[in-house]
Each structure stands twice: as structure tokens, then as C-alpha cells.
């Protein structure tokens, strides 16, 4: 095993370990904020007709009458054994609920970022060929629209203009079977792609234009490279590392952006689950979502660093 590979493993291990205090910190912050929220989760659990005595009894049973730090320590103890608790309202296991929603959210987010990556590469290449030309202006307009148009509106338009008249995609929900699942995810993923691709287009376009004047590209041109071989082999290859960093940030955004998309498309994902759990003050569920989202975001950045070190020889990661 080379030193480089060993160093990379050590780096990954160190980052995974550093994930623990980070997630614990985020969890503490989330629990503090939840404890400051108005309302009474125990009342939500027991119902409107219950007497105050019954509500207090349930609050005690659920540990909701304990100070935040005590609840935090108790919860961390449980999480360390893999137990994320049970939903206050439905009694279902939090881990089970999140596990059933995770594939929906991940599918939309991953497909959305892939769509955004492909579209941004194609559009940025087209735009960078003639800076300030018609195509470039059009691509810049697309990027501005991608940032400016509300995701919710784009989702409704996609349903009204594509799903409804053509019948190619379901208007909402997830169908049965793999093919139906994929069919259900296409439009939501396109919407996530549209809402996340703008920064990628802008970043890649700028880098491509800058690289066009770079010495190594000029040298390649004098050596006879032109067209796709020049663009892909020299410009794009060197423009990829900054694109990966931007794409990672957008992937994080896409994860949270799925909240809106899931509501618009009626998809039972984590975004919609988190929104409902927060609105019903289902603390164990909210805490479970916070942990899973935090871990996913940290893993995205870890993955990005590793990929960057592979595609860009100048980047060295060591423990």
C-alpha cells in the first residue's frame, strides 16, 4: 500500500471520528432550540380532552419534565446503542420511519444533483465557447432563472405543464415497483436539478473561460489540439475540482431542498417527515432527522475531499 493510499485512509478515518463531536454539537443545539419552542408536546400526545394532571403524567413518562441537559445525556446514551427512540405520536420506531423515507429523499437528491451536473457541464461548455455571445447570454439567463425561480413554483409548473397533459409521470406520490418508483422520481429530480444547477453553471463557465487563456491550454492549441479534445482533455479536466466543491455545497442544499419538492409532489420522504415532526413537536423524530441529516452533510463533504484528491493530483490529503 502506498503512502498516499495509507494517508487517504487515515484521513477518512479521522474525519469519520471527528463527525461524532460535530453531530453531538448539532444535536445539542437542536434540543436547546426545541426546548425553547412554544407549546407542549405532552399535550399533543395526550389530546385536547385530557386533564392537566394526565398531561403532566405523560410528560413525566416521556421525560419531558426533565432539564434539557438531562434529556440530552439520556438521549445520547440511547443513540450510542443505536436506539433513536420512538415517535411520541405514532409509537413507531424513529429509525424505522427514517429508514423508510431515506431512499425517497436520497433518490431525489442524488438524481437531482446528477441532472444538475450533466446540465451544467453541457451548458457551461456551450457558454464558454463564445463569452458574451448569444448562447452565453442564454445560459447566464438560465442560471439567473435557476436561482430566482422558487422551487415550489417550478414544481407546480412541472406538474401542470408536463405530468398532467402527458401522463408520463405521476402527479404525486410513489408508485409500486422499481420502474414506477423511478417514474415517480424523474420530475422531482429535474426540479431539484433546476434549483441546484445555477451555481455549478456559473462556476464552471467562469473557470472554463479563465482556462481558455491559460498557458497549458495555449500550448495544447499550438500543438494542434482543438474542438472536443481541447475542451474535454484540457479545459474541463482542470475545471472539475472547483466544480466538485460547488456541487458538494449544492448537494447539501439539495437534501434540504427536497422538503419543498416532497411536499409539492406528495412524496413520503425525510423532508416532509421533518416538517411534520417539527410542526407536531414530535421531539424524538425531529432529533432523529437532525442526526441523519447532519451525518449525511458531513459525509458529502468528506466524499468531496476524497474525490478532489483523486481527480486533482495537486491536492494531498493526509492524516
Amino acid at each position: 500500500m502506498t503512502d498516499e493510499v495509507t494517508g487517504r485512509f487515515a484521513f477518512v478515518a479521522r474525519r469519520v471520528v471527528s463527525l461524532v463531536p460535530l453531530v453531538l454539537g448539532i444535536l445539542l443545539l437542536a434540543m436547546l432550540l426545541l426546548s425553547l419552542a412554544p407549546g407542549n408536546p405532552a399535550r399533543n400526545v395526550t389530546g385536547p380532552r385530557a386533564s392537566q394532571g394526565e398531561v403532566d403524567k405523560v410528560a413525566h413518562q416521556l421525560g419531558l419534565d426533565q432539564p434539557v441537559w438531562e434529556r440530552y445525556l439520556h438521549y445520547v446514551g440511547k443513540v450510542s446503542t443505536g436506539d433513536l427512540g420512538t415517535s411520541l405520536k405514532t409509537g413507531q420506531r424513529v429509525s424505522g420511519q427514517i429508514a423508510s423515507q431515506l431512499p425517497v429523499t436520497l433518490s431525489i437528491a442524488v438524481l437531482g444533483v446528477l441532472i444538475a451536473l450533466v446540465a451544467s457541464v453541457l451548458l457551461a461548455i456551450a457558454a464558454a465557447r463564445r463569452p458574451d455571445g448569444i448562447v452565453d447570454q442564454a445560459v447566464r439567463l438560465i442560471a439567473v432563472l435557476g436561482i430566482g425561480l422558487p422551487t415550489f413554483w417550478v414544481a407546480i409548473m412541472a406538474i401542470r405543464l408536463i405530468a398532467l397533459p402527458t401522463g408520463w409521470f405521476p402527479v404525486a406520490g410513489v408508485g409500486q415497483g422499481l420502474l414506477e418508483h423511478l417514474r415517480s422520481y424523474v420530475l422531482p429530480a429535474v426540479v431539484v436539478g433546476i434549483s441546484t444547477m445555477a451555481p455549478m453553471i456559473r462556476s464552471l463557465r467562469a473557470t472554463m473561460i479563465e482556462l481558455y487563456e491559460a498557458e497549458f491550454v495555449l500550448a495544447a492549441r499550438t500543438l494542434g489540439f482543438s474542438g472536443p479534445s481541447l475542451v474535454v482533455g484540457f479545459q474541463l479536466r482542470n475545471a472539475v475540482p472547483p466544480l466538485i466543491t460547488v456541487a458538494a455545497a449544492q448537494a447539501g442544499y439539495a437534501l434540504f431542498g427536497t422538503v419543498v419538492v416532497e411536499v409539492a409532489f406528495g412524496l413520503p420522504g425525510m423532508g416532509q417527515g421533518l416538517a411534520t415532526a417539527a410542526s407536531t413537536q414530535d421531539f424524538p423524530l425531529v432529533q432523529g432527522y437532525v442526526i441523519v441529516f447532519a451525518v449525511m452533510i458531513v459525509l458529502i463533504y468528506l466524499f468531496t475531499d476524497v474525490i478532489n484528491s483523486i481527480v486533482d493530483p495537486r491536492v494531498r490529503i493526509t492524516a
Binding site: 419552542a37 412554544p38 407549546g39 407542549n40 399535550r43 399533543n44 400526545v45 395526550t46 389530546g47 385536547p48 380532552r49 385530557a50 386533564s51 394526565e54 398531561v55 403524567k57 405523560v58 415517535s87 405520536k89 405514532t90 409509537g91 413507531q92 420511519q97 423508510s100 423515507q101 407546480i156 406538474i159 401542470r160 405530468a163 398532467l164 401522463g167 405521476p170 402527479v171 404525486a172 406520490g173 411536499v263 409539492a264 409532489f265 406528495g266 413520503p268 416532509q272 417527515g273 411534520t276 410542526s279 407536531t280 413537536q281
Partner: protein, 504 residues
């Protein structure tokens, strides 16, 4: 309310009413023969709360739950009567202190085991133990098993209201000892004697129910499956109904109803009471004249047209309407009378009040109208929105001044929502409940319809004279039903049975 806003509201109301079929909540032609098979796709506006009966509060949850864990008694198709179900018949003794129930001999749980008196006795104990609904069944002193198919509920005091409460979804019949499971495990995957059994469920996702082949009603249910999907976004509701992806949608907002194809939105009779609750513990609102003055300041026409788009009428009392034994107050209920309001408020009106409401389009419009109305009598109202749960939490803990709320029945008896108001300390206003409890006890003690209606009038008078809350409108709940769906008999409070529905 500014004139242009009122004009727009009136136009919206006219448009909405022309788009809506007023079928009294019933769809389909009675002459058509039901067709077996198919899947019924229903959209629910709220998350599913699970099958733990005592924790169920939302209509969509109650509806799903009762189709799996069916209660003893059903609500009649007219939405105003009770009908036999698992209880084939019932009768009170002369003093109304014992209720004999005969169990339908064909009633079976979805695992094929018959429903017995032991199951009913166990179920009653469960209902009584519930922190939320338990008090409603506390009057059942004991359950006597006469034979396998007969029980007698012995009551602590005469209670003719009880039969209505036995039709509540939360009074579902569960197998004795949960069939050997723990309560938690049972409610995760319950076995009931309802028309459907649970295939899968989640709070935010689909609840999938499959036909129970052992259901006691011959030929029912008609559809093979029911899929209830959570659709919190009104746009999505419209689009799913238009595309045919959904067959029905529960609890449709008035603004959504006007976007649906002709004949799809079915408004039930006026029922749900939209109320302005006032915290009587707040110094400014402790004075009955102030509360009554606020009542006379409300422009009820603005509320019904502006906020409810014509899907409601001005209130004629404090209680939800279109219920068995409902009666109006003997004193006139509040009407828009600014001069009377000003004279009641003179020298006592608080300068500023805060109005809390849950952040949906209807409540927002209602809050703005109340704000405008109270400004006319010199009260500045600061309106504050919160999500439903937070707003409810603030109200339940008494941490509010005024709040918009709605309450309705879950069975066809006028005492049902009245007991809800009492159980919630007259909907969390802190108003003393002693008089109301005495009136409702008198109501429960008699089996005379006339005497029951007299009791309801006394209660209406109490809540009109003391005004712990002001009813703003009696609204019509809207159910969206696509034209291929038949046999949906929606009760005034918005709940119906899946087993009577069939699709063409």
C-alpha cells in the same frame, strides 16, 4: 372589511357555490348497483396519527381507524342517526342505568376469530383508561357478560348519550388482551373487526388497507383496497384529483374547492362551529360585557363570505348544527350591531388584544376580518399566526388572549361537541364548567327528545349570555369526490365509511 375586499369575497362565494354540488355529503345514485373491486385512492390533509385509539384526534385518522378497528355502533347514512354495526341491537333499562348490547353473530376479527363479549369488556376497559377520551366512558361502572354475544354496561348514572359515544372511532372493539400482544405491538399492526385490514402505514406516507374477507356486512366492502395518501399542499390535491390519480380528498379548503372540476366538491350541511375563544383569565376579557361587546362587533357576513367563501352561514348558537337534538338558544345569538357593541364596551374595552390563529389561508382571512371588526369599536388587535400544533399548545396552556378555533362533533348527538367544550374547560377559556356539566347531566338522564332539546337550549343560553367564546360561523365541510366514485355518505363532521364506497 374594505368594500373592494367584500366585493371580491362575494364574487368568490358566488363562483364557489356554482362550482359545488350540494349533495348533503352523499355521492352517487342509489339506483346504481355497487361494483366490486378496484382501489380507492383518498387524499388526507393531515398526517396519520396511528391506530392507538386514545391518541387519535384528527378526522382522517379517525376515518382510517374505524375502518380497521370498527366501533360497536355505526353512524347512519343520513349522518343524523345511529345504525347497527358490531352491535346488532342495543336497549336501555327503564332507568337508563344499564345498556344491553347484542353482538352481531357474524362479527369477526380479520384473523377469523369471532367478536365476543370478552372482547367488548376488554375494549371498554381500554377506553376508560385513556387519558384523552377516558372521562367520556367513566360512567360505565361495570361490564356484565350475559353470554358470548351479549353484554350489559352498568352505568353509574342514567346516560342516554353513551350510545352516541359508542359510535366514535376511538371506541373501536379490540380483541381481548390484544390477542396476546402488548398494546404497543398491537397498535403497530392492529387486528380489528372492520371492513379492512392494515397492509402498511406511516404518518406521512401511504396508509394501505386491504379488504377484510371476514367482514360481517354481506358483500362489503366493495373496493379491494384503500390507499390514503398525505397531501398537505392544496395545489397537489387539485392536480391529483384532476389527473384521476386520486378518487377523493378529505377536508378540502374552500379556496381549493373552487379550483376543482364541476361536481367534484361536495359540501356537507352547515356544521362545524368556527369560534373566537377568549381567555377569561386575561383581565380585559374577564368582564362578560367586554366579551359580549366583541360578539356584537363581529360582522358575520364578512366571515362567511370572506373567509369561508360561502361555505357556511352566520351562527344561530354556540354549538355545531345539524345534530340530533340540536336546539337554538331562547335568547337571540350575536348579530353585527356596532352601536350595541360600543355601548357594552364603553369604559371597559381593552385598547389592545392579541389574536392567535393557525397559519392556513382560511384562518388568516378570518383573523383579518376580526381585526377590522374590532378596530371599528376601538380595539386594536395584533394578529399572530403559528403552526397548528403551537397555536393549540398555547391555547391549551392558557397562554393566549384570543384565538380562532373550530370544533365539531364526531357522532350525531348534540351533546357530543358540548361535552368536548366542557372537557376542554369550555375550549380552554377558563370559563367555569359547573353549570354546563349540570345541564349535560340532565340531558343524559332523559330519553325524551323534547327534554334533551330543552337542555341544549339552556346550554346555548348559558354560552350566549356568558360568551366565553363567540361562534363566528357554522361551516360546511367539503369532500372532493370524483365522478367515478359512488356510495360515499359523508357525515356533517366530515367522516364516512370506506366500506359503502364503490367505483365505476
Amino acid at each position: 372589511m374594505p368594500r373592494n375586499r367584500l366585493a371580491a369575497a362575494a364574487l368568490a362565494a358566488v363562483l364557489a357555490t356554482t362550482l359545488v354540488a350540494c349533495g348533503g355529503g352523499t355521492s352517487g345514485s342509489a339506483s346504481n348497483t355497487p361494483v366490486q373491486g378496484g382501489t380507492l385512492h383518498v387524499l388526507r390533509a393531515t398526517p396519520f396519527e396511528g391506530f392507538d385509539l386514545d391518541k387519535e384526534t384528527l378526522n382522517s385518522t379517525l376515518q382510517i381507524s374505524q375502518s380497521v378497528i370498527e366501533p360497536l355502533i355505526r353512524v347512519g347514512e343520513d349522518g343524523k342517526s345511529l345504525a347497527p354495526g358490531i352491535a346488532a341491537s342495543w336497549s336501555y333499562n327503564k332507568s337508563n342505568t344499564a345498556l344491553t348490547i347484542k353482538i352481531n353473530p357474524d362479527a369477526k376479527f380479520s384473523n377469523g376469530k369471532p367478536v365476543t363479549a370478552d372482547d367488548v369488556a376488554f375494549s371498554v376497559d381500554r377506553w376508560k383508561a385513556g387519558p384523552n377520551y377516558g372521562a367520556s366512558f367513566a360512567g360505565i361502572k361495570s361490564v356484565q357478560k350475559v353470554d358470548d354475544k351479549t353484554v350489559i354496561l352498568h352505568l353509574a348514572a342514567p346516560d342516554t348519550s353513551l350510545v352516541a359515544f359508542l359510535s366514535w372511532a376511538i371506541a373501536g372493539v379490540v380483541p381481548k388482551d390484544f390477542g396476546g400482544q402488548s398494546a404497543a405491538d398491537y397498535f403497530k399492526s392492529p387486528i380489528g373487526a372492520g371492513a379492512f385490514k392494515v397492509e402498511k402505514w406511516s404518518a406521512n406516507g401511504d396508509v394501505v388497507l386491504a379488504k377484510n374477507p371476514d367482514y360481517y356486512q354481506p358483500g362489503r366492502p366493495y373496493v379491494d383496497k384503500v390507499v390514503s395518501s398525505f397531501a398537505s399542499d392544496p395545489n397537489s390535491v387539485t392536480l391529483q384529483l384532476r389527473s384521476g390519480q386520486a378518487d377523493m380528498a378529505d377536508d378540502v379548503l374552500p379556496v381549493t374547492a373552487s379550483t376543482l372540476p364541476k361536481g367534484v366538491a361536495h359540501a356537507g350541511p352547515e356544521h362545524s362551529a368556527q369560534v373566537l375563544v377568549m381567555n377569561t383569565k386575561v383581565p380585559g376579557l374577564a368582564d362578560v360585557d367586554v366579551r359580549r361587546g366583541i360578539g356584537y362587533a363581529i360582522n358575520f357576513d364578512d366571515i362567511t363570505k370572506g373567509a369561508f367563501k360561502g361555505f357556511g352561514t352566520a351562527p344561530t348558537g354556540a354549538l355545531p348544527t345539524n345534530l340530533s337534538n340540536w336546539a337554538p338558544p331562547s335568547v337571540p345569538y350575536f348579530t353585527h350591531d356596532v352601536e350595541k357593541a360600543k355601548s357594552l364596551l364603553a369604559g371597559k374595552a381593552p385598547k389592545k388584544l392579541q389574536l392567535l390563529y393557525s397559519n392556513d389561508a382560511t384562518s388568516s382571512a378570518e383573523a383579518q376580518i376580526v381585526q377590522d371588526n374590532l378596530a371599528e369599536v376601538g380595539i386594536t388587535v395584533q394578529i399572530k399566526s403559528a403552526d397548528r400544533s403551537t397555536a393549540f399548545g398555547a391555547m391549551a396552556s392558557g397562554n393566549y388572549q384570543m384565538m380562532l378555533f373550530s370544533y365539531s362533533a364526531i357522532s350525531p348527538d348534540a351533546s357530543d361537541p358540548a361535552w368536548f367544550a366542557v372537557a376542554t374547560h369550555t375550549i380552554f377559556t377558563g370559563f367555569p364548567v359547573g353549570d354546563a356539566v349540570r345541564i349535560l347531566t340532565d340531558y343524559a338522564a332523559t330519553d325524551s327528545k323534547q327534554a334533551k332539546m330543552k337542555a341544549i337550549t339552556r346550554l346555548q343560553d348559558l354560552w350566549t349570555n356568558e360568551a366565553p367564546f363567540i361562534a363566528l360561523a357554522n361551516t360546511r365541510l367539503i369532500e372532493a369526490i370524483n365522478n367515478n366514485v359512488h356510495g360515499a355518505h359523508v357525515a356533517p363532521w366530515g367522516i364516512y365509511y370506506f366500506d359503502t364506497i364503490w367505483k365505476k
